[in-house]
Symmetry: C2
Subunit: 176 residues, 2 copies
DNA sequence: GACATATAGTATGGCGCCTAATTATGAGTC
DNA sequence: GACTCATAATTAGGCGCCATACTATATGTC
């Protein structure tokens, strides 16, 4: 399978040149990274025409159907990014007319972020289209295949999450 | 499996709230993205102590053992990034003493980028350590498992690469 | 009521990546 | 030799993300 990123090919070449024989593991790793990168690129390309990024799309999804809006720190928490990042994303979304910041009368530190009607409509449309697209990427897999796939991912995940100084020789077993 | 990114959980929740029933596909997609993100994060954390990023590491790998160095545009090509990006990475690497830019006597547009001895030593050490780490992430997989895994990735890849306006109903089959 | 402490949001500056524009140089043509 | 065209590297400006530091406001305690 040749679906690798250029930079990873370079690393693989170097590894081969150095006589490293078991590059199959590395290759598999790079295949995962390449697939994810391709998905991210495709996602970005789909959202770009609306002046949206993936991060902005997540914020729109979070704010959809919430007339009272959410506070920036709640958005940060639910989106899994820092508050500073949310500030930046909100700046762009507000500039482009997707939402507004409303001050809180009781607590003047607080702000509630609410979609404009335009933002609401955009969130509505995009969410349906986008989630269909995401689902389509992994259509054609039988439930059993999905389980196996997911299990593979989990095994790799465990290796990644391993504490840095723990026994490096531990290996992805099949046990629960 | 709960190894998902916060932002993707938000999107999944929204999808469920909207009565979307087949979220298994989306979930699988997000699992792939989460694994890749975890790998990237871990990679960045491992390189950070040396003031290196993944992009810089690739450049070091490319320059290793090349006493005559490479031109920036060759680096860009082999690393799969733009020349402008290479300029930025080289600025950092040069500032930190990993390499030097040498002007070409014959063609004064050209530049050859060469590692310093410090850069060479760093590239040497890091490359071995880093490629071992990458390999370890997917250790514990039987060759047959790797094939299946790789096949899954390929099927998803085909769905991603599908032209935007082509039949959206096409699905990841098992056929070659 | 004054004070420390916590919280909310933002500004600042960094990195990696991009596109588009710019500067310098080389090469081919008339 | 002047012109155009191509090439090499860079700059300028943008986005998304981060960590850190700051400002304004609230709250609890003495």
């Amino acid at each position: 399978m040749e679906n690798l990123e250029h930079k990873h090919l370079a690393v693989l070449d170097e590894a081969a040149r150095r006589g490293k024989s078991d590059t199959a593991n590395m290759r598999l790793c790079f295949e995962v990274l390449a697939l994810a990168a391709a998905i991210d690129r495709s996602c970005a390309a789909r959202l770009a025409p609306y002046r949206l990024s993936e991060g902005k799309f997540v914020l729109l999804s979070l704010l959809r159907d919430l007339p009272d809006g959410l506070a920036p720190h709640e958005l940060a928490e639910r989106a899994g990014v820092t508050r500073a990042t949310v500030t930046g994303l909100l700046d762009g979304l507000e500039r482009d007319g997707f939402l507004l910041r409303h001050g809180d009368k009781d607590d003047r530190r607080k702000i509630s972020v609410r979609l404009t009607s335009m933002g609401q409509a955009m969130a509505e449309d995009l969410f349906v289209e986008h989630s269909q697209w995401i689902g389509s990427l992994f259509a054609g897999f039988e439930p059993r295949e999905r389980e196996v796939f997911s299990g593979f991912l989990l095994r790799a995940w465990r290796n990644v999450e391993m504490p840095l100084d723990a026994g490096q020789t531990t290996v992805a077993g099949t046990s629960p």
